[in-house]
Amino acid sequence: MDAGPFVVDGIRTQKLHPWPVRIMHWINAAAIIVMIGSGLGIYNDSVIIQGLHFPEYLVLGSWMAKNLQWHLAAMWVFMLNGLAYLIYGIATGRFRNKLFPITAGEIWETIRETMRLKLSHEDVTMYNAVQKTLYIVVIVAAVAQVVSGFAIWKPMQLSWLTDALGGFQIARIIHLTGMAIIAGFLLVHVALALLVPRTLWAMLSGGPKITTRTVEAAR
């Protein structure tokens, strides 16, 4: 290929969080809060763990009919936005650049540093191994929520799916567990973003310009 002297092939300079990432992030933030808030109300109507009721102030919607309306409306936003995010992350190589590779030694090292309260966030453009792991876990949990959600919503039309998960009640337990994982992630994620406000600002403004090698560079 005859590249001119000023064209750097395979190198791309862009913001840390390009605008599609930021838009999808905040749509997802709103959708997930609605999904959890309304889901807790639906759970309360027929509890899975005896004695575990979620307090009313966490619930979105005044009663079951409203909980369901919120849940079955926001699910489309959550699902379509999540799908767009997955396609974007794979197509642009963002997942590969940001989340891989992770080594066990790296995870251990980060945990030890974190235990000594050495939160090294000097460089917000790089995720440490624990961050990478958590992001992968929460993405997998979100996909599991959509799958188990369909198994609960359509246990007859999609009976193969419900059966594959172990049945209707098991699907509900998976759905509750997925919610707990996402809610746990949310607490850590928001706490750390507040501790290191630069990361929060980066998700609003796009953050510093970074240079990444694109797929073409490997040719």
């Binding site: 808030g37 639906i42 759970y43 109507d45 027929s46 899975i48 102030y57 619930v59 979105l60 919607g61 005044s62 079951m64 009919a65 409203k66 369901l68 309306q69 919120w70 079955l72 409306a73 489309w76 359509k154 246990p155 007859m156 039309q157 009976s159 059966d163 209707f168 009640q169 509900r172």
Partner: protein, 257 residues
């Protein structure tokens, strides 16, 4: 015979003309209220927004959209899984908008199933006549909108067979039910014609006990529990959509499984 679905006294249409200015004023008020509901957005954290707000309207619109999505997802040939008889719950779990003590049993001798709408032969049916119809048995999972479930064994005439027998218009959109416990309900025609949609008269091979809908109830494998009215007293085939008891309160109408 007069349709049991129509009010006894139909209002005079001229009333509309008499009150046109008042109606217009109402609409204007609604518009103002809609504008105010922008402010209600800020109260989202308070967790409930009244139905008249734009958010309430948007949620209702998606609720209707979900009906359409479910009509597309519905398969008229796919059967729900059936289960071994050993798993049948006896007696079944009771559920209604009131407690089991408040069930008002229907009298076998005076009970009639009335027919209305797009049906050729509207002669009412007695318990004995229903019993002569061909029967199908199914052992299926009952799933409640609340999240609980159980396996139940139901038998009765397939609704499709019954509708064909009375000459119903099978191209109509809806089948509407009236019940002894004032629990109106309606389903789409494709669901009505599904092989696992029965007018059930028996549970676990025994005549339906009073609390579970004697002498006739709907049992479909393709919808949530609340879409199965008990103590049916009238059936209407129609192209007019009529929401049921829970749908009027905001639950999803199609509620397919």
């Amino acid at each position: 015979m007069r349709s049991p679905f129509r009010p006894d006294r139909v209002p005079d249409p001229a009333i509309l003309d008499d009150h046109r200015p008042a109606l217009r004023a109402l609409e204007r008020r609604g518009f103002l209220r809609g504008g105010l509901s922008l402010g209600a957005l800020t109260m989202l954290t308070g967790c409930d927004v009244s139905d008249s707000s734009s958010i309430g309207q948007a949620l209702k619109a998606v609720n209707v959209l979900n009906d359409r999505v479910q009509e597309v997802l519905f398969s008229s040939t796919k059967l729900a899984p059936e289960y071994p008889e050993s798993r049948v719950l006896k007696p079944p779990r009771f559920n209604a908008y009131y407690e089991i003590e408040d069930v008002k049993p229907l009298d076998r001798a005076t009970w009639r199933l009335e027919l209305a709408g797009l049906i050729q032969d509207k002669r009412p049916w007695t318990v004995e006549q229903i019993a002569t119809l061909p029967e199908r048995e199914m052992t299926i999972r009952h799933i409640c909108v609340e999240g609980w479930d159980y396996i139940g064994q139901w038998s009765g005439v397939p609704l499709r067979t019954f509708l064909e027998r009375v000459g119903a218009d099978l191209t109509a959109k809806y089948v509407v039910f009236k019940t002894g416990d004032d629990y109106p309900s309606s389903i789409d025609m494709p669901t009505a014609l599904h092989p696992q949609t029965l007018l059930a008269t028996k549970y676990a091979k025994e005549i339906l006990p009073d609390p579970f809908g004697f002498p006739l109830r709907l049992r479909t494998s393709t919808k949530l529990g609340f879409k199965n009215p008990k103590w049916i007293t009238a059936i209407e085939v129609t192209n007019t959509w009529v929401p049921g008891y829970w749908e009027k309160l905001g639950f999803n109408w199609f509620s397919g499984l």
